[in-house]
């Protein structure tokens, strides 16, 4: 990898660090493990001979594989259940905290595939095409995970009433 390619990777990381961290966190549910996965992914990327043709799908796929490896390796040791949302600040703490916890608990109630699809689509801004390529499924499957997940969330919202 030459200097320009290393710089391109650095710019990509700077622009997507939150989204990538959130995605890793969604898989590992542990802040330290997500950070390890993110670091290991970029370490491997920089050791490659050349830049992949499409950086974004490559990084997401590599990060997913690394996060799953970290999860398998550490297993039960990853007890922390970190949130994918930022903690509420002092300003409008009550409102933000309530919305954050509501969104968090709704997402946690979903099966893994549906939650991952919603996180990728809504929080990371990936298209169904990119999600399908990342998960190696058809676009229809990715779209149906998303729709089914949202339907479950709506049903879960209505349940207490």
């Amino acid at each position: 990898m030459d200097v320009n390619e290393i710089e391109a990777v650095r710019i990509f990381y700077e622009g997507n660090r939150r989204e990538l961290y959130t995605y890793a966190l969604n898989i590992t549910r542990c802040g330290a493990a997500a950070e390890d996965a993110l670091h290991a992914t970029f370490y491997s990327l920089l050791r490659r001979g050349s830049l992949p043709r499409d950086l974004r799908p490559y990084v997401y796929r590599a990060l997913r594989n690394t996060a799953i490896s970290v999860l398998r390796r550490n297993g039960r040791a990853l007890a922390e259940d970190a949130s994918i949302y930022a903690p509420a600040t002092d300003g409008d703490a009550f409102d933000r905290l309530a919305r954050r916890e509501e969104a968090e608990s709704l997402l946690r109630s979903l099966p893994d595939d549906e939650r991952e699809c919603i996180v990728l689509k809504l929080l990371n801004g990936l298209t169904f095409n990119e999600i399908a390529a990342l998960r190696r499924v058809s676009i229809n499957t990715a779209a149906s995970w998303y729709r089914r997940g949202l339907a479950r969330l709506r049903a879960a919202e209505k349940e207490p009433e």
Binding site: I6, Y21, G31, Y85, A86, P87, A103, L123, L150, L153
Partner: protein, 121 residues
């Protein structure tokens, strides 16, 4: 079009990675050594390997067709067959027939073209 639920899910700001990760990543990028692009270091796809093999085979076939193998000339048997009945004399050597200068009763006697034996007998 986003509905209300989608908007609520995507509204809260995402979690921020810790300062330790930023420090590690900054170190990682600063210590990344640019490597000169080398052909043998870049990942080569399987189809590229197979294509290279097929091209090599094709090139070998073309070369083989263009320059056919030169076979050595067949060895000529330096041997004279002598028939010495009085009616006909035959000398077989280089496929030629010789006249009555060769006489004898032996088959496949080693000798020279003049009909003299060379095996010391």
């Amino acid at each position: 079009m986003m509905d209300d639920l989608e908007r609520r899910l995507s509204a809260p700001p995402l979690a921020e990675p810790g300062a330790a990760l930023d420090h590690r990543m900054a170190q990682l990028f600063s210590s990344a050594v640019p490597r000169p692009r080398a052909f043998w270091h870049r990942p080569v796809a399987l189809w590229q390997c197979l294509a290279a093999c097929m091209l090599s085979l094709l090139a070998g076939w073309v070369v083989n067709q263009a320059w056919p193998e030169r076979k050595p000339a067949p060895r000529v048997v330096e041997q004279i067959l002598v028939f010495t009945d009085d009616t006909m004399s035959l000398q077989a050597g280089f496929g030629e027939m010789r006249g009555p200068e060769l006489r004898g009763t032996e088959w496949a006697v080693p000798g020279n073209r003049a009909g003299h034996r060379t095996d010391g007998v």
